[in-house]
Amino acid sequence: MRLLACCLPSNTRKTELPSAEVTRVFLAYLVARTALFALLWASLAPAQITISTVDSRGMETPADGLVDAGSVAAGDYSDTRFRLRNAGAAATALTALRVAGTGFTILGNPPLPYTMVPGANVDFRVRFQPAAFGAYSAPLLVNDKTLLIRGVSPQAITLLVERDGKLETAATTAPMVLGRVERGASLTQGFQLRNDTLGALTINRAVVAGEGFSGPSGIVAPLRVDPGRSIPFEVRFTPARNGIFQGSLTLEDRIFTLEAVGFDPPFPDAIITVDPVVASGKQAKVSLRLASAPRVAGSATLRLEFRSEISTALDDPAVVFLPNGSRSTPVSIREGDANLGEVAFQTGTTAGEIRFRLEMPAQVGAPLTAATTVSRAVVGMDTTKAMRATGSVQVEIIGFDNTRTASRLTLRFFDRAGNPLGGDPVRAEVAVAFQNYYRDTSAGGTFLLRALMPVVGDASQLSSVEVEMENSSGTSRSRASF
């Protein structure tokens, strides 16, 4: 229809014509189309196609009449590479390409019909894969040419490999995958030697080679196999490490490639132990162990994540592992040792939750997690100092507020007899000052507060000061001597 559309005058699709005129135009189109096809067909003369075989070095040998596919043991195969070439000066069509006969298949052939411009090549392969011993032949048809391909399968022992309770003919042309097994464990692959020929055959060489592979067990060469008999044997694979292993099973001059995978045994489940609640401003420990002794060494990663409870403090840089100062740390797993040790961490000075996550190598499930809560607490005062100077006293407090709600500071002074100095204690509403400080600091909930107070009178009367701080969790007290 595309050709019709393109060859019709464009206006014929738009203008009403008398029916006789339409018929005339259409007949003229049919004549022209037939002539065009005849011309094209004549130019695609099959006689222009030459046939060659191509060896592994790329050398072409003209093929005419008979092609030898060689001698192939039952179960194996050999491929013969063919090349078609359009040796003519005009395009030609490849309209037939097939092989007919048991044991032969054609591979890599183009879809037909296939137009070959002058000088063009078409390569394909004919695979000879005999199922049993004997002589084989098959015709190869290329357009109107026919070649005969022949091959032979010598009388030989057939190797059968057990797969899911069934026997499959083994081939040397592809590796036989025996499976996966844990390092140090073994897997056994069953085989059979079968004599499908009419006479007794002798195996003079049966050898298994390759790291981790052993056998064959059940047979010893030289070995006579009577016609129709099958003799079972086994090959064992015992990897001493993880990885992909390749070995070989040699029977006479046939070498079968064996392939298997060794993998490390999985790690036992891990257990993370940490106190459910920790105080702020501490160095604590999280301990790690496995449910049983691991059979392999490895390395895991312990991570921590801090989730602040305080809306104005999204994070706390002090919450890190020690000593690396990071939020992830490597954990060594020693073979045979279930104890993974302890990892120190800082609890920081912000209320919230610290979550730990242990990422094990080759982990199947979700990483193991545990959490500890840093509870809201009263203002912590790590150090309180009181100093006297001429005309003034200074009180210095190093501490933290893990709620960021410090609101009031109270100082009570005592004389040398331990009696409170008269009048009310010094009180200061410090909420705004603390909020302003925390807005700008990157030191978590820590603070250093220095209060310098002028003194009128004999400052040497001062013996000690009691510091009281309030926040949303309550009141804390500390005392310092001058």
């Binding site: 702020s280 401003g281 501490k282 160095q283 840089p317 002090a318 890190v320 592992f321 020690l322 000593p323 690396n324 100062g325 990071s326 120190a344 800082q346 609890t347 920081g348 000075t349 790590d382 150090t383 006293v393 190093i398 501490g399 933290f400 500071l409 100082l411 009570r412 002074f413 100095l421 008269g422 009048g423 009310d424 204690p425 010094v426 009180r427 200061a428 410090v430 000052a433 603390f434 302003n436 400080y437 700008d440 600091t441 990157s442 030191a443 978590g444 820590t446 603070f447 250093l448 507060l449 220095r450 209060a451 310098l452 107070m453 002028p454 003194v455 009128v456 009178g457 400052a459 001062l462």
Partner: protein
């Protein structure tokens, strides 16, 4: 990191007085990491935060509460509390032993390769024409005198050295320590085989056992000494009665 609050003192004074308060982030001292970067360590015991690097290339360093002394490959630096370099001078390559006076201001620097003692004269370093028989293990200043811990065979001697070279033995300690920190009070800290020994100025001692050999000590401030191990560092908090060790984050070697 500095905020101001106001307190009203009404107890001591007969009349209420306005008092001033300041808030800032608590500072532990300075540390030198494995790359020779000098950093401020913020926080307090068991809650440390490692600050940004103030300078790099340090081969020796010591800090007081107010200043830092840093020996780089070719220079001797004086830094203020904020980590800003306030003075620098050329110095022969190699390590140095650095000491402060009791106010925390720079006092002495002993340059190992030239065996030269430099004295801080308020605005710069001056050569101190005193020859030391042995290289000191640690130094500090006591008034105008140099305090030096010096090894003689199996003993460490605490010497007070005057500018004219006259010296007096203040103490003698049997020790194999190769690393020490000395304070102007005469207190010092020694790194023994697998312990850290605090010798207080009044003669009392405290031994803190550690599990691995100490490979270095340096003063982080008047109260903190960094104890360096192969794989980690600890901070030794010097207290009147009971000094304590804490892990320091982010200082792996």
């Amino acid at each position: 990191m500095l905020k101001t609050i106001f307190l009203t003192l009404s107890v001591i004074a007969p009349a209420a007085l306005q008092a001033q308060g300041r808030m800032e982030s608590p500072r532990v001292g300075c540390v030198v990491d494995a790359r020779g970067e000098v950093r401020t360590l913020w926080g307090f015991r068991a809650n440390f935060i490692l600050g940004e690097a103030a300078t790099s290339g340090a081969v020796s360093a010591a800090c007081s509460d107010s200043f830092g002394l840093v020996k780089t490959g070719e220079e001797l630096l004086v830094m203020d509390r904020a980590g800003v370099v306030v003075h620098r001078r050329e110095a022969v390559s190699g390590t140095a032993i650095l000491g402060f006076d009791d106010r925390g201001t720079p006092a002495f620097a002993y340059l190992h390769s030239s065996r030269q003692i430099l004295h801080w004269e308020g605005s710069g370093w001056e050569r101190w024409d005193v020859a030391m028989e042995q290289s000191p293990v640690a130094i500090a200043a006591q008034g105008e005198h140099l305090l030096a811990l010096v090894r003689r065979e199996d003993e460490l001697y605490l010497l007070r050295v005057a500018s004219d070279g006259q010296s007096a033995v203040l103490a003698r300690v049997a020790s194999s320590a190769r690393h020490a920190v000395l304070y102007p009070s005469g207190a010092f800290v020694l790194a023994e085989e697998q312990s850290v020994v605090v010798h207080r100025a009044d003669g009392r001692q405290q031994r803190l056992d550690v599990s691995t050999p100490v490979i270095g000590l340096h003063a982080m401030s008047s109260q903190w000494v960094r104890v360096q191990f192969e794989a980690q560092s600890m901070g030794l908090l010097l207290r009147e009665d009971d000094s304590e060790l804490y892990l320091i984050p982010g200082d792996n070697r």
